[in-house]
């Protein structure tokens, strides 16, 4: 309901460095060094780094190609972790009902989850940041209309919006990315508008104006770089949320097709066998999902604390 940024408008700050490039790089660099000194953030980086590496290298490191049906052996179905396969290799994390190696399925599932999460966050960030900048810079009617749309959208839970969209669009990777972009852009728009409003009243923007620089140059070279730190925090948290939302939707069976299982779909597949004690089919993809989300959130939390030292918990 609130009007973000309004209260911060009056901040009477002096202009930072003269060159906009330096002003942009310095906060980002400071952020990074502070981040690496934070032990929890470092743990987050290690967790996320390992998972991303595993996902990227999946075709090389996975014991099996989980999509290649000819490689699957039904005789190996629902084996517990550590079992020997019929051809002598070991299923470290067990197998699913079709005899698929869970470790391989998880590595490939991670690829899908990360792709969907990162792609949707990146697209939403670009759209939202553009909308926020326009809103803050144009002000007046444009601002009022854009922010009203943002308000209305944010008053609906994101899962409901995603549910509506996917009911309409059907299944597919591009469709779920689209649904996630639509549910998330408003958060970025709001954040960027808030910080752009503050920045646009600073002296360096006045200086740039008095030099008769074009609006476009002022927005992209001067205001945008200084809006980046809070935007990066929001983006970090949003990637984790997007991955979680995708997993939830896939778990409900309305996100991704079965041919390209993400972690959420793997968990859903195992759900049926949970009752009969084959816990590993659901639990290991779930643990991977948790690690990923907690890892990203650790980084995000540390970033937020660095940017806003007063805030805790």
């Amino acid at each position: 309901m609130g009007q973000p940024g309004r209260s911060a408008d009056a901040a009477p700050d002096a202009a930072p460095g003269a060159s906009p490039g330096a002003a942009a790089r310095a906060p980002l660099l400071g952020m990074l060094t502070a981040l690496l000194r934070n032990r929890l953030a470092l743990a987050g980086f290690v967790i996320v780094g390992l998972l991303v590496l595993g996902a990227l290298l999946a075709p090389l490191v996975a014991p099996q190609n989980p999509y290649d049906l000819s490689k699957l052996n039904f005789m190996d179905g629902r084996l517990p972790p550590g079992s020997m396969s019929t051809d002598g290799s070991v299923y470290l994390l067990g197998t699913d009902d079709q005899g698929r190696d869970m470790l391989s399925a998880i590595l490939y599932g991670l690829r899908t989850s990360l792709l969907v999460g990162v792609a949707s966050a990146a697209i939403a960030l670009v759209i939202g940041a553009a909308a926020g900048l326009v809103s803050a810079y144009a002000g007046g009617r444009t601002d009022a209309v854009l922010m009203r749309v943002v308000d209305i959208q944010l008053s609906f839970p994101s899962i409901l919006i995603a549910l509506i969209l996917l009911a309409v669009l059907g299944q597919g990777v591009s469709k779920i990315i689209l649904a996630l972009v639509v549910t998330q852009w408003a958060y970025y728009a709001r954040t960027v508008r808030g910080s752009a409003l503050v920045e646009s009243r600073r002296a360096y923007v006045d200086a740039a104006r008095s030099m008769a620089l074009s609006d476009r140059r002022i927005i992209f070279r001067h205001i945008l770089p200084n809006c980046l730190p809070p935007l990066i925090v929001v983006a970090t948290m949003r990637v984790a949320y997007a991955i979680m939302l995708e997993a939830t939707l896939s778990f409900l069976g309305i996100g991704l097709p079965v041919t390209q299982p993400s972690l959420g779909l793997l968990i859903a597949n195992g759900f049926a066998y949970l009752m009969s004690g084959n816990y590993w089919i659901s639990v290991f993809p779930g643990v991977t999902l948790l690690l990923l989300i907690v890892g990203i959130n650790l980084i995000g939390d540390a970033l937020r604390d660095i940017l806003n030292p007063r805030r805790e918990g």
Partner: protein, 324 residues
């Protein structure tokens, strides 16, 4: 005030119209419900009969106009699958969802407020730190995953609580409810707790922040100087002022709880509207999808409208900024 009300009402109606058109047009552009309705061995004549029976052969704007006209009369079409009026199907499932949502909110308050107070009174203690860690986990872990683990631990491994259905229900004012029977209550506990987890974290944080802030205000220090007992200061002075914002937020969160019930209902096979809509999306049962979406959109718009009006009454600046 009246102009503010009028503009706010107009906006709500505009939202409703836009949503209904988007959903309706969208549903018609993908998937063919005829395929979902007919067996693969159906003859062309049967096919035409079905298309005609469901009005699928008319132009799309005709279908929409007809749909709006009927919707205004409370008729949202018959479910393709169940052959019953979609609205009645959803309304029949609604009590189950509402019971779950209220149960979750109640748990969130009952668990969240005491923990939040504890964490707010001695923020540096080990217990408080553990409570806050728990709340971070509650925020960042996916609800559906926690639900699965609850099933695994409490139903499969320990066998303490049932994991699916509503259990034994009794009629209360003509509506079947679970919470009045022992069996029903046992069935309600796990899903309600699952749905409540996120809200518990939220309540903990809000209460903690409120208690920490209010405890430092002058009137609390004055109360302490007067020699009142800590218990009385907490109950009468601190809590009262902490609870006001809490209740506002919880009211707003009610809609979100209903939306997220979709997930919990799927895990615990709770026969509410959420389970119905997930199944309907699977088979492209358009009248049910439409009816559910419109009903939720109406519900949300009304909740938002009420909250906005309340805000405008409490805070005159809102209506001055928005209505003029």
């Amino acid at each position: 005030m009246i102009s503010y009300l009028a503009s706010r009402l107009l906006q709500t109606i505009a939202t409703l119209v836009v949503m209904s058109v988007l959903v309706f047009v969208g549903l018609y552009m993908v998937g063919n419900p005829v395929d979902a309705l007919l067996s693969s061995s159906a003859t062309p004549a049967e096919r035409i009969a079905v298309i005609h029976a469901f009005g699928l052969d008319r132009p799309i704007w005709d279908q929409y106009a007809l749909f709006v006209w009927k919707a205004l009369h409370g008729n949202l079409g018959n479910s393709f699958v169940y052959g019953q009026p979609a609205l009645r199907l959803i309304l029949a499932r609604m009590p189950a969802t509402l019971e779950l949502a209220f149960g979750a909110l109640l748990l969130a308050l009952l668990i969240g407020i005491p923990l939040g107070i504890r964490a707010g009174l001695r923020p540096e203690g080990l217990v408080s730190k553990s409570i806050m860690t728990f709340s971070i986990l509650g925020f960042s872990l996916p609800t559906f995953w926690i639900g699965l683990m609850m099933v695994l631990v409490f139903s499969v491994e320990l066998g303490w609580l049932p994991s699916s259905g509503r259990g034994q229900t009794v009629e209360l004012l003509g509506v079947p409810v679970s919470f009045l029977t022992r069996d029903g209550l046992a069935h309600l506990l796990l899903p309600a707790l699952n749905l409540a987890l996120y809200k518990i974290s939220l309540v903990i944080r809000l209460t903690r922040a409120g208690v920490m802030e209010v405890s430092q205000l002058d009137y609390v220090r004055f109360a302490r100087a007067k020699g009142l007992t800590e218990g009385r200061i907490l109950r009468v002075h601190v809590l009262k002022n902490t609870l006001i914002p809490l209740i506002t937020v919880i009211g707003l969160e009610f809609g979100a709880v209903i939306a997220f019930a979709v997930v919990t209902e799927t895990i615990f096979a709770w026969p509410g509207m959420g389970k119905l809509i997930v199944d309907a999306i699977g088979v492209l049962d358009r009248p049910v999808i439409l009816a559910y979406l419109l009903l939720t959109v109406v519900m949300f718009s009304v909740i938002n409208l009420i909250v906005d009006i309340l805000y405008a009454i409490v805070d005159p600046r809102v209506r001055l900024a928005g209505g003029a």
